[in-house]
C-alpha cells in the first residue's frame, strides 16, 4: 500500500436538500491509524461515515478510501470496509447465526468464521435465538461480528459504545477496538476517551471542520458549547 493514506478527503461537500450536512471537510488518515470525529448531534458525523461507507455520494470535493476515488470506484471499496452504526443492520426475526450467514453469503466468506466470531464475543450459546430476544449489548456484539466478518481494512464506527455498559463495551474491543490493528474512523461524544485513542482528530460543527489534525481536550469541549 505504500505511504498513501487509507482515507483522504479534500473539500468534501454533502447536502440533504436544502441543508448542508458536510461543508468543505478535509482530512487524511494513514493506514492502521485511528481518526476520532467529535461534534454535537447534527454536526455531520454520521453523514461523514455514510459517505466513507459509499452509502452517500459526495457532492463536492474529493474522497479517497484505500486509494480509490468515491463514488466512481465505490464498488472496489465495498467489501473492504465495515460499518457499525446506530442501527445494527440485523433482522430482528432472524437469529444471530442466520443474520451473519446472510452477510457471509453476500461477502463470500466461509461459515466457519461465523462460529469463531460468535465464540469470541461469547454468544455461541445464544446464536440461534432471534435477535429481538437479545439484550442491547448482545445485539451490538452481533453487529460488531457482522462488521468484521469479511476482514475489512477500514472500520467505520458511529458511536459504537453508545448506551452500552462498560462490560458490554469491553466485549467489542477485540473486534473493533484499537487493538484490532485496522484503520478506524470513530465518532465520539466523550472528549477524554476519544482523545485517548485518537491518532488524528476531526471536530465538526454545523458540517464544517472546526478542528483538524490534533486537539486538546479543552478545544474538543469547546465544540459542544
Amino acid at each position: 500500500m505504500g505511504d498513501a493514506p487509507a482515507i483522504e478527503l479534500a473539500g468534501l461537500v454533502r447536502r440533504y436538500g436544502e441543508r448542508t450536512a458536510l461543508d468543505d471537510v478535509s482530512v487524511a488518515l494513514p493506514a492502521g491509524a485511528t481518526l476520532v470525529v467529535f461534534g454535537p448531534n447534527g454536526a455531520g458525523k454520521s453523514t461523514l461515515l455514510r459517505v466513507l461507507a459509499t452509502l452517500l455520494r459526495p457532492q463536492g470535493g474529493t474522497a479517497h478510501v484505500l486509494g480509490e476515488a468515491l463514488p466512481r470506484d465505490a464498488w472496489k471499496v465495498r467489501g473492504r470496509i465495515g460499518l457499525l452504526g446506530h442501527e445494527p443492520l440485523l433482522h430482528r426475526d432472524l437469529s444471530a447465526r442466520e443474520n451473519l450467514r446472510f452477510h457471509a453469503r453476500l461477502h463470500g466468506v466461509a461459515f466457519e468464521r461465523i462460529d469463531a466470531l460468535l465464540e469470541q464475543v461469547g454468544l455461541r450459546l445464544r446464536a440461534d435465538e432471534p435477535i429481538r430476544e437479545l439484550s442491547r449489548g448482545m445485539v451490538q456484539r452481533v453487529a460488531a461480528c457482522r462488521t468484521v466478518l469479511h476482514e475489512p481494512d477500514v472500520l467505520l464506527l458511529d458511536e459504537p459504545t453508545a448506551n452500552l455498559d462498560p462490560a458490554a463495551a469491553d466485549a467489542l474491543e477485540p473486534l473493533v477496538g484499537r487493538t484490532s490493528g485496522r484503520t478506524r474512523v470513530v465518532t465520539s461524544h466523550d472528549p477524554a476517551r476519544g482523545l485517548a485513542e485518537a491518532d488524528v482528530v476531526l471536530g465538526l460543527r454545523g458540517g464544517r471542520a472546526e478542528l483538524s489534525g490534533s486537539a486538546t481536550e479543552a478545544e474538543v469541549r469547546e465544540l459542544y458549547r
Binding site: K76, L83, P88, L89, D93, H103, R105, H107
Partner: protein, 220 residues
Amino acid sequence: MTRAVNAVLRRDLRIETRTPQVVPGMALFAVSAFVVFHFALQQRSVEGNLAAGVLWVTLLLAAVLGIARQFVADREEGGFEGFLLAPVDRTALLVAKAASLFLFLVALEIVAVPAFLVMLLGPSPVEFWRLLLALLLADLGIAFVGTLVGALAVQSRARDLLVPLLALPLLIPLLIGAVKLSAPVFGGPAAAARWPWVLALYDLVFGLVAYAVFDFLLED
C-alpha cells in the same frame, strides 16, 4: 451475482418461514374476497368471464398486499444498507426480490385457486393448462412490476396509499391478458392465440424496465 441473489432470497424466505406474515395474509385475503364476492354478486356460483374476473381481481388485490410488504423489513431493519455495503451487483436485489415475490404468489395461488374452484366456480374447469399458463406469465409480470413499485413506494411517507395507486393501473394490461387467457377454463369464450404472447411481451418489457431503472432506487 448468483451468490448475492442466493443470499437475499434465502434470507427473505427464512424471514417468511420464521414469522409467516405475507403469504398467510394474502391467502386469507383471497378467501375472504371470495366470500365477499358471493354475497356481493348474490350468486351461488360463477362461470365464464365473470369467474375469470372474480379470480383475477382477487389475485391482483392480494398481490398488492404482498407488494406493499415487500421492502418493509429491508427499510426498517437495515436490510438495504446491509446489502449496499456488500461488494455485489445491485441488480441482484431486484432479481432476488422478484423471485421471492414470485414464490409468494405461487404459494398464494396454491391456496386461492383451489379455494376458488371449490367455493365459487360453477362448471368444472376444462383445459386447465390455460389457467396454469396464465398464472405463470402473470406471476412473472407481477413480480417485476411489484418489485419496482414496492421499491418506489417504500421510501415515501404514503407507502400504503401509493402501492395500489401505482400497481393497479400498471397491472391492467396484465389483467386483460390473464382474464382473456383463462376465461375458457371456466366455460367462457375461446381465447385468441395471441394472449400468451401479449403477457410474455408485458413480462419482457417490464423485466427490462425494472432492470434498467432499479439501481437508481437504491442510491442515496
